[in-house]
Every structure is written in structure tokens, then in C-alpha cells.
């Protein structure tokens, strides 16, 4: 039926992108919504509609034969006309019998109109002193229907004369009821729209704050943007009711509301992609295209479904890829879509409830994520502190110090000059360590300097030659501190000295997406298996994790000739298997 279709279209237009809410305040506000549900079913009261283009004063009269007029469903062909008449037949008996308040009708039309009831002009939305054709008027009117006519006949005629030349597509919203109820419902809707709009705005600011504080970057930005547009729609809807704007202003706002609905539909996939990632780039663009294409094709009727459906598929894919929290979002989107369908069929403000659920799930998930980020942040601070302590401990490990002192005492007893030389080497190692202690990464050259200082000390203590062979080293590349140093330490502990002392080797190889270091030392076969995951290797792994996230690989294994450790570091944009 026309009025219903128009009404649905109008309601969708407003509410799809407009209402929507989060948190308890909104829930409380929504509890008012059942209060503004229409008291009677318009379908039962408005028995029949007839449409015609043109203009005649006789069309307002009940005895005019309108049987050749267009019926419901055919009225779209009238859009090019200047004047259109709608004749609605009302079943007087079905009208609410309210002893305290007169029967009335709520009319919302984005065009200037005059309303005739049983041939009598009962009102118009045109401003005083203007004609219909001047296009100066309000959108909404609540007009009382003279109760005397209800005694005269069973079916009554409500005729609308509209001038639509300047405001296509026109829309008609007719709600019959008692005057008191219609006024109260309108007031309630005003309050609900305003509160929801403001609450949305506050939540949007809240997430904008997170965005600018850098706690949640892209998802928070998209979520805040989404809420801002929804909030805009809500608040402008309140303006229509409250400020009684003129048609021209209303028209501009209607257009901007439509635009904000489109933007909200587009923001949903962007938000989801920022939140969960979406590896199928092509399908993402297909979804965006579908949303945009659906706008002119369906006059926005199916656009929200396209957006929600696409969103559900994206989230399902995130769920399949085991993205944390995808199940909350999926539930929110599905409930919201069900709400859209219910609202379309039966009303009940189901869109608002569905949207509330969606916003709550988004909120819940984002807040959880913020918590997780904070925890992770604190953990990373702790990890950095622990790594720094580990690094220093490496240098001042008691057994390392005490063994060195033991050596120094020996030189003092027999060969003091050598002792001085040794202390110099020890000091050198300490100096480098204290210089790099707080750095997360140092150059390969600095790292090799530490290794050399360490080898010099061990050479003195063990009276043995140590050589660290290098191949393909790029000195300016960065690396977490004391990685090679740890490998050198292990190498000395487990390595085997040949004729010319002990030879360790470090080789750099370029990878397609990064670099690889191979550290090798020949062994005396004394490495127990459990050494391969000892504290030294844990240090290396934690350091690599801190600096490169998942973009590294560490492997230590026995070979026929000795022991080989492999470190691979991948570039940021490198593929990672």
C-alpha cells in the first residue's frame, strides 16, 4: 500500500542511519519507544487510496467518481506532474473512540499541501500569506478532523492536494489517531531522537579521544566516524520535529541525511576491515561497489542490507580466520540485520534495538581491545626492562667476574703488566655494554666490537687464540644488542679448539625478503640437547621478538662438523610463511 510503502521508505531513510545507540542510557531511552507506537493500525482505518495528476476543486468532494484514478502501486508514474491529488477513504468506525480528544491525523509530506476532510479544508502546511506554489511551508502537521463528520457516514474522504513540481520525490506519511496521542508521540520521538543523538555524539568523542591518544588507531577512527554520522542523523531528525523547519531547509537536511546513511553503510566494511583485517582485497572492492550501485537502483531500500550482509560475510571470514572477538561482532551484525527485517515488516522500532545490540557489541569489543592493548603495553615495558637487566647481567655475571678476577690475581702474582692489559680489555667490554644497555638495537659493527672485546678476555683467560671469521657482514645494519655475543659465549663454552685456536664464524646471507646470519663453531660433541633451549637462546628469541615481532626465525642445530645457529630477519613488507 502506498502510504505504507512511502512511510516505510521514509522511516528507513531516517532510522537506518539515524537512530542507534549504545549503553544503558540508550537502553533506557529505547524503553520509551513502545510508548510512541501508533495506537491504531493505519491499514485498517485507511481503506483505499486513489491518485491522480492534475488539479480540480471538485476532487475534494466525496461524490466525485475517482474510479478511473490510479490505484496503489501505480502512483510512481505521477512524479513528473506539478499537482497530485491523493484521495484516502477512511473507515469511520475503525477510528479510535476517544472521549477526551478529537480524532486527528498526523501528516508529513515534503511538499506544500492542502488537506480536505469530507470536502472541507481542514489545514495546510503552507505559511500564512503564501500560496501553495511558493513552496514555503512546514513538513509536519497534526490536524484535527471535525468530529461531526464521523456521525454522518461510515466512510469518510480525506483528500490531499500537493504541489510537487519542486520537491520530487514526494513522500507521504499519514498517521491517524486521537489528537492527544499524536501530539504526545511526536513529543516522545523528539526526546528520543535528541537523547540518542547526543549520546552517540559523546560516544563518538570518546573513541575520537582514543584515536588521538593513539591507543586504538584505525578501528577507533572508523567507529567514531560511523557514530558521528549516526548522531548527525538523529539530531537532525529532532530538528524536524522540534524546530518546524520550512520545506527548503528540510529538503537539504533530508539529502544530507541520505548521504550520511550512505556513508554509514560504507563505513561498516571499512570499520570491519580495520578491526579484523580482510585479506581478500578484490572482494572488499566488490562489496563497496555493490553498496554504491544499490543506492540509485533501490532508492536506498536494499543498501543497508547489502552493507550488513557484506559486513556479516567479512566478520564470518574473520571468525574463520580466528580473529579474536569476531564472534561478538558477528552476533551484533546478525541481530541488527534481523532488526532491519522485522522493522521493515512489522515496525516495533526493531531497527533501533538491533542497532543498539550492534553498537553494544562493537563497544564491548573495542573496550576489550583497549584493555588488551594496555596490558600488552605494560608487558612490553616489563619485557624491555627485563631484557636490559639481562643484558647487564650478561656483562657482570658473577661467575664471569669472579673467573676474571681469578685470572687477574694470577697475573698480579706473576706478571703484573699482563694483568693491567687484561683489566684494560675487561674495561673495554664494560664500556661498550654500558653504552648499549638501554638500546633496543645497535649496529652490527658495535655488536662485533663487543664480541671482539669478549674474545680478547677469553683468549687471556684460556691462553688460547680465538678467531671470529666474518663473511658478507654489513656493518651499518641494526640488530638487537648482545645477540652475536650470546652465540660467541656459547661457542666458547661448547666449542673445540683446533691447531690455531678456536675458530668461530659469522656469515651474512641476503634473503629475498630480509637477511640471514649463520653462526658456526666446531664442537667437542659435549652439547647436551637441553642446552639448545637454554637461557642464552631464550634471550636471543625474546630480543628478536621485541624488535621484529613475528618477522624472524631462530634455529640452532648440530651439524656433522659442529654447531650452527641460524637467525633470519625479514623485512616489514616481506612475505612470511
Amino acid at each position: 500500500m502506498l502510504h505504507q510503502r512511502l512511510k516505510a521508505w521514509y522511516e528507513r531513510l531516517k532510522e537506518r542511519g539515524t537512530n542507534g545507540f549504545a549503553l544503558v542510557i540508550i537502553l533506557a531511552v529505547l524503553l520509551f519507544l513502545p510508548g510512541c507506537v501508533d495506537e491504531i493500525d493505519a491499514d485498517e482505518v485507511m481503506i483505499e487510496f486513489r491518485f491522480n495528476a492534475g488539479d480540480s476543486s471538485s476532487w475534494r468532494l466525496g461524490d466525485y467518481d475517482d474510479s478511473h484514478w490510479l490505484q496503489e502501486g501505480q502512483e510512481d508514474s505521477l512524479e513528473d506532474a506539478d499537482y497530485v491529488w491523493v484521495r484516502a477513504w477512511i473507515d469511520a468506525g475503525k477510528f479510535p473512540e476517544n472521549t477526551t480528544s478529537d480524532p486527528a491525523i498526523y501528516i508529513g509530506i515534503v511538499a506544500p499541501y492542502e488537506v480536505y476532510f469530507e470536502g472541507e479544508l481542514i489545514g495546510s502546511n503552507v505559511l500564512d500569506g503564501y500560496r501553495l506554489e511558493d513552496n514555503r511551508g512546514h513538513v509536519f502537521e497534526i490536524l484535527q478532523l471535525p468530529p461531526a463528520h464521523f456521525e454522518e457516514a461510515d466512510t469518510l474522504l480525506l483528500a490531499l492536494r500537493m504541489y510537487i513540481a519542486d520537491y520530487p520525490p514526494w513522500m507521504v506519511e499519514l498517521i491517524p489517531g486521537s489528537y492527544e496521542t499524536l501530539v504526545r508521540n511526536t513529543g516522545l520521538r523528539e526526546v528520543v531522537q535528541l537523547v540518542l543523538g547526543v549520546v552517540y555524539f559523546v560516544i563518538a568523542l570518546y573513541y575520537l579521544f582514543f584515536f588521538f591518544s593513539g591507543e586504538l588507531t584505525r578501528p577507533a577512527m572508523f567507529f567514531a566516524a560511523l557514530l558521528l554520522f549516526v548522531s548527525y542523523s538523529s539530531i537532525t531528525e529532532w530538528f524536524y520535529y522540534a524546530l518546524d523547519w520550512e520545506l527548503s531547509t528540510y529538503y537539504v537536511i533530508l539529502i544530507s541525511d541520505l548521504l550520511s546513511l550512505i556513508i554509514v553503510c560504507l563505513l561498516i566494511p571499512f570499520f570491519l576491515r580495520a578491526q579484523f583485517g580482510f585479506p581478500y582485497r578484490r572482494w572488499f572492492y566488490v562489496l563497496l561497489t555493490l553498496i554504491i550501485v544499490s543506492i540509485p537502483f533501490s532508492l536506498l531500500e536494499i543498501t543497508p542490507y547489502v552493507a550488513m550482509g557484506g559486513g556479516i560475510l567479512m566478520t564470518a571470514s574473520a571468525y574463520y580466520r580466528k580473529q579474536p572477538g569476531a564472534e561478538y561482532m558477528l552476533a551484533g551484525l546478525i541481530v541488527c540485520t534481523i532488526g532491519l527485517v522485522i522493522d521493515m515488516q512489522w515496525g516495533y522500532y526493531a531497527t533501533d534495538w538491533g542497532f543498539l545490540f550492534l553498537i553494544l557489541s562493537m563497544n564491548l569489543y573495542l573496550l576489550k581491545q583497549i584493555q588488551a592493548r594496555r596490558k600488552e603495553h605494560q608487558a612490553s615495558i616489563l619485557r624491555s626492562a627485563r631484557l636490559e637487566a639481562d643484558l647487564l647481567r650478561k656483562c657482570i655475571q658473577p661467575h664471569y667476574m669472579l673467573n676474571s678476577m681469578n685470572a687477574v690475581i694470577d697475573w698480579i702474582e706473576v706478571e703484573p703488566e699482563k694483568g693491567v692489559e687484561f683489566l684494560g680489555a675487561l674495561a673495554e667490554e664494560f664500556q661498550v655494554f654500558s653504552r648499549i644497555a638501554q638500546k633496543k638495537e645497535i649496529t652490527v659493527q658495535e655488536e662485533l666490537d663487543i664480541c671482539d672485546a669478549h674474545l680478547k678476555i677469553m683468549a687471556c683467560r684460556k691462553e688460547q687464540e680465538f678467531t671470529l671469521q666474518r663473511e658478507g657482514i654489513v656493518p651499518n645494519e641494526s640488530i638487537p644488542p648482545a645477540i652475536f655475543h650470546t652465540l660467541v659465549e656459547n661457542g666458547i663454552t661448547h666449542g673445540k679448539a683446533g691447531e690455531g685456536g678456536m675458530i668461530l664464524s659469522l656469515k651474512r646471507e641476503a634473503l629475498e625478503n630480509g637477511r640471514r646470519y649463520r653462526f658456526f663453531n666446531s664442537t667437542n660433541g659435549a652439547i647436551a640437547e637441553k642446552d639448545s633451549d637454554g637461557t642464552g637462546y631464550n634471550y636471543i628469541k625474546t630480543r628478536l621478538q621485541e624488535s621484529y615481532g613475528d618477522r624472524w626465525r631462530f634455529d640452532a642445530q648440530r651439524t656433522d662438523a659442529g654447531y650452527e645457529c641460524v637467525i633470519e630477519i625479514y623485512d616489514l613488507n616481506g612475505a612470511l610463511s
Binding site: H399, N406, D410, R461, K530
Partner: protein, 231 residues
């Protein structure tokens, strides 16, 4: 002649220990050094020594495995290590002494005194490493009721009634055992926590009755001191 083995992976440290030993020990001695633990232990399986100086990394479990092996031997083990936090644990396993690094002459002298028979004043020993069917078991010392000399070896009598052989002589065991263990006779050491009473016979002959009824002979010269201890 005292036969001493040094297992120390830093040549510098081994040389110094060797030098200090030649300064401190007046008796004739022979010092052998290995840098590698594995090689040293392998050599030990084939050769007899009196004293082992062992530099051990005790930060892992492997170090204690080695310790169990050496303390079960007939010789004494002295740890020379920078891992000082593990000293007490090492004593529990029955080492004669634990010298922290850096090695100081005075501390080395104390260890050598202990080696030459002076009993330790610490009661750290908790387990005796015992070779049993090719394996090394840790035997809690409180389970030992008394010990009997058996040639160069010792026979451990346990509270459970079992007997075990230990490679160390009665003298060597006494230097590491806690003070509740006392020499009651030339051939016997008794755990006084498990001693019940003395029995005396005419002619200044004495016996010690253990709680399980075992009777141990008491040397004439030791009776007075032991009686004071038990009462």
C-alpha cells in the same frame, strides 16, 4: 705421594692452582691437569687419585651429575668454582670443600688441612653418593646406622638392614660426615642419632647398643669422650 687431578677449562686458572699447590703442599705430589671435563672424567675411570680439584658449572643439572660421580669415588673432591651460590648444595653431595673463585691462598690452605684429616665443622652433608650396580645412588646420611671398615673400602649398614659398599675409606668418610657420626672403634663409625646406650664389661671393655639392637665394639681410648657425647 699425593696424586692430584685438576679439571679446569681455563689454562690460566689451572696453572695458578698448580703453582699454589706446589707452594702449600710439602709432601711429594703429582699434579695432572685436564681442560676438558669429559677427558678428565674418562682418565679418572682408568686411574687412581687422592684428590680432585674440579671447576664445575653448577648452574645446570649436569654439574651435579658429575658431582655425584666424583663423590662416590675413593678420593676426595674439592670444588673450585665461581658459582658460589651452589656451595651448600655441593656440600650436601659430599664434597670435601668448596673453594670460591677467585682462589685465595688462605682458603686453599684450609681445604688442604681438611684433606689431611681435620674434620669439617659444617654439617652440610645430606647424601652419600654410592655406586650400586654400576649406577650412582644418593643415600640420605640419616639412613646410615653405622659404618664398618672393609680394607680400603667401607661397609655402610643402613637402618633398613641393608648393606652397601663405599669406595672411600673410613678416614675419608669421617672427614665429610656430619658430627653425629663418630668413630667408636678403629673399624667402626656410628650414627649417634641411632645409638641407645653403652654396655660395659669387666676389664674396661665397652660396647655401644644401637636402637635396632646391633652391638658395636668401642675402643678403650674413645669411651670417655663418647660417653660425654651420648649423655
Amino acid at each position: 705421594m699425593i696424586r692430584i687431578l685438576i679439571i679446569e677449562d681455563e689454562l690460566r686458572a689451572a696453572k695458578r692452582l698448580s703453582r699454589l699447590l706446589s707452594e702449600q703442599v710439602s709432601e711429594p705430589m703429582k699434579v695432572i691437569h685436564f681442560e676438558s671435563l669429559d677427558k678428565g672424567l674418562a682418565w679418572l675411570d682408568e686411574n687412581e687419585i687422592d684428590l680432585l680439584f674440579l671447576d664445575l658449572n653448577l648452574s645446570g643439572q649436569d654439574g651435579f651429575e658429575v658431582l655425584r660421580r666424583t663423590t662416590a669415588g675413593s678420593f676426595h673432591t674439592i670444588i673450585v668454582s665461581a658459582y658460589v651460590d651452589k656451595a651448600i648444595e655441593a656440600f650436601e653431595y659430599g664434597v670435601l670443600d668448596f673453594i670460591p673463585k677467585p682462589l685465595m691462598v688462605k682458603r686453599l690452605q684450609q681445604a688442604l688441612d681438611r684433606f689431611s684429616g681435620q674434620r669439617s665443622e659444617d654439617d652440610h652433608l645430606r647424601y652419600l653418593s654410592v655406586k650400586l650396580a654400576g649406577e650412582i645412588k644418593l643415600l640420605p646420611v640419616e639412613k646410615i646406622s653405622h659404618i664398618k671398615a672393609a680394607g680400603h673400602y667401607s661397609e655402610l649398614f643402613l637402618t633398613t638392614g641393608k648393606k652397601m659398599l663405599h669406595d672411600k675409606s673410613l678416614d675419608k668418610l669421617l672427614t665429610i660426615l656430619p658430627s653425629v657420626f663418630e668413630r667408636v672403634h678403629k673399624s667402626y663409625i656410628a650414627n649417634f642419632n641411632l645409638a641407645e646406650r653403652f654396655r660395659s664389661y669387666p676389664g674396661s671393655r665397652y660396647e655401644l647398643v644401637m636402637t635396632d639392637g646391633t652391638v658395636l665394639p668401642i675402643g678403650r681410648t674413645r669411651y670417655k669422650e663418647l660417653k660425654r657425647k651420648l649423655l
